[in-house]
């Protein structure tokens, strides 16, 4: 099977000389379609940096990132931003949503960028919001939703753009463990039912349990990979 994402000798350094930080140091990983992968490691180990590289938000110092064999590390500017819009779904730890747009409008926004006609946008948004359990809350502003609900909107937004992969950087970090688990279960359902490929980072052992594959990073290096059946 062709991988969705592949990294080769990926390196990202910050600073120089004495203060040089190797946030990523020769990382070679591969994500296959349909995986539900967790990147785990302590704080500062390089999880966010890795997701930024995979998502085309930042440029590596060395090595490359291939999305379906296409090297994203060679794109820039508008090409890269269009690429992210069409191929990558993002869920961040916080501040995901535009505060002045309702849940539905937040999801619509990304499809607007994609140039999808209004009628289709509306239809897809409503069904997606229902799928993440937000039926009846479509017109609420982010401020009128709980933290868990806001993250669900973020998941819905990532889903409606129909990307190749959804990257979530510690999506549960700001949620209590119960809500966090529910969010993760919902993502897992989407992974199983819709076949969406997810990569998320966490340092919470309970969250890791849910992953079908684990990539352990420490000091910018992948120290271990683990596949589970479950």
């Amino acid at each position: 099977m062709k991988p969705v994402i592949e990294t080769r000798e990926l390196c990202r350094f910050y600073g120089a000389g004495d203060t040089l930080v190797k946030a990523l140091d020769d990382v070679n990983i591969r994500i296959d379609p349909g995986e539900f992968t967790a990147i785990v490691g302590p704080s500062g180990s390089g999880k966010s940096t890795l997701l930024q590289q995979i998502g085309g938000l930042d440029i590596p110092n060395h090595g490359k990132v291939l999305l379906k064999d296409k090297p994203i590390s060679e794109m820039s500017g508008k090409e890269l931003s269009d690429f992210r819009r069409d191929h990558i779904g993002f869920i961040f730890q916080a501040y995901n949503l535009i505060p002045v747009l309702s849940a539905a409008e937040n999801c619509e926004y990304i499809m607007l960028l994609q140039g999808i006609p209004a009628a289709e946008r509306r239809e897809r948004v409503l069904s997606m919001l229902a799928q993440v359990g937000l039926e009846g809350r479509e017109d609420r502003l982010p401020g009128q939703l709980s933290g868990g609900q806001q993250q669900r909107v973020a998941v819905a937004r990532a889903m409606v753009s129909q990307p190749d992969i959804i990257l979530a950087d510690e999506p549960t970090a700001n949620l209590d463990s119960q809500t966090g688990m529910e969010l993760l279960d919902m993502m897992h359902d989407l992974n199983r039912n819709e076949g969406m490929t997810f990569v998320f980072s966490t340092h919470d052992p309970k969250i890791m349990e849910r992953a079908s594959r684990l990539i352990y990073v420490e000091d910018g290096k992948v120290i271990r990979e683990e596949t589970r059946n479950g």
Partner: protein, 409 residues
């Protein structure tokens, strides 16, 4: 639509700041509108008065006369010519004049004067000469019982030559045939003040001037009025096409006739722009400050927007749109306030505490201008400068790097 909604809701986010920004644009609009109204209103008044009183909106003269007025370049002054002239489209009034210099003698002294021969009746209908008679009365068409033609003299002439009503005035000059011209006239009135433009003038009935300068059935020019000085160019074009058969004669507008006056008016108008620039500058500072603040505050948000695929151009457009919306709303609010005030200014106006001289015309009462331009121009200025000012913060927002922006969250 969603982008407009987004822009609109964004401007409602920080209400206090929005209100402050709008107040500065609103105030700028109202100030600009009213000052432009009064300034242009007074220029309209001055130009209107000047052209009606002195030059006409256009003049017909012999080719070359306007560049170098001489006694010898003349136009026909016949009933036939007048009737045909009045048939030309747009011509409302016309009057012939003879203009030349002479030496005036009172009892003991002499004084150089400008002699202006006017058609007594047509002149009264066209200029303000009759209204400007301070003492005495207006001209008579024909000679009095003693055979004297009447003369109106400027205040400086009256003072220099110690002339009073009923006194005799002697004029000496040269006729168009090269002969020596001299004649006696009866002073019937004094026009204007010693400072006014007519202070050194002597006005004679046309027939008197024609015989004095030996110009039978001739004048130096016809001053022509149309409905409005703004139509002067059109008027002179029509006159020229009417004159087409006559290569000796031409029509020119007041701008050519009195270049000096026209240039001073233009310079005065440009001088008035300084005040506008100051208002615009203050508005711009207010706008720049708030737009920059609102961009900086939303750095993280723009980071996320860009991360999920919003192009730099779209972020840029969003900021400019937000600013434009604010500007348009402010101008609309300004329009609501400026309209009644300007209506009052245009309809009633106000009396100046002290009369002011503008290019030789004394003004004591100022009026505003009620037209589309007066309201549109300031709106375009405010909206345009707000848009221009927003380019810098917009560029800044467009250039935000998602990773950096989100790290700062």
């Amino acid at each position: 639509m969603l982008m407009l909604k987004l822009a609109f809701r964004n401007i409602l986010r920080n209400k206090r700041r929005t209100i402050l920004t709008m107040l500065s644009m609103f105030g700028g609009y109202v100030l600009l509108t009213l000052s432009i109204s009064v300034q242009n209103g007074s220029y309209v008044q001055v130009i209107d008065f000047f052209t009606r009183d002195s030059t006409g909106h256009a003049q017909i003269s012999e080719v070359g006369y306007q560049d170098k007025p001489t006694l010898y370049k003349s136009v026909p002054e016949t009933t036939d010519f007048y009737q045909q002239l009045m048939q030309v489209d747009g011509v409302q009034r016309a009057t012939p004049r003879i203009v030349s210099s002479a030496l005036a003698y009172g009892e003991t002294k002499s004084f150089p004067v400008q002699v202006i021969g006017v058609d007594v009746e047509k002149e009264a209908r066209m200029s303000f000469l009759e209204e400007k008679v301070k003492t005495g009365q207006y001209l008579e068409v024909g000679p009095d019982s003693d055979g004297y033609y009447s003369a109106l003299i400027g205040a400086a002439v009256a003072r220099q030559l110690s002339l009073e009503m009923g006194d005799e005035l002697i004029l000496i000059s040269q006729g168009a045939d090269g002969s020596m011209a001299n004649d006696l006239y009866r002073v019937v009135g004094v026009v204007g003040s010693t400072e006014g433009a007519e202070a050194r003038n002597v006005y004679l009935p046309l027939a008197a001037a024609q015989s004095f300068f030996v110009m039978p059935e001739q004048a130096h020019y016809w001053a022509v009025l149309t409905s409005d000085y703004e139509r002067s160019d059109q008027l002179s074009q029509r006159l020229n096409s009417w004159l087409d058969g006559d290569s000796e004669l031409e029509a020119v507008t007041w701008k050519v006739v009195s270049k000096e006056f026209y240039e001073t008016m233009k310079a005065d108008v440009e001088g008035g722009y300084v005040a506008y620039y100051i208002i615009i500058f203050l508005v711009c500072i207010g706008v720049l400050n708030t737009v920059l603040m609102s961009v900086l505050e939303r750095t993280g948000e723009f980071g996320v927007l860009k991360a999920i695929g919003t192009s730099p151009g779209r972020v840029f457009t969003l900021i400019v749109t937000e600013t434009l919306m604010l500007a348009v709303l402010s101008c609309l609010a300004g329009l609501i306030v400026a309209m009644p005030i300007n209506y009052y200014l245009a309809a009633v106006g106000f009396v100046l505490p002290e009369p002011m001289e503008v290019s030789g015309v004394i003004m004591s009462h100022m009026k505003g201008l009620w037209d589309v331009k007066t309201f549109m121009e300031p709106a375009l200025i405010v909206i345009g400068s707000a848009a221009l000012i927003s380019l810098f913060p917009a560029r800044r927002a467009a250039k935000i790097v998602p990773v950096d922006a989100m790290r700062s969250l």
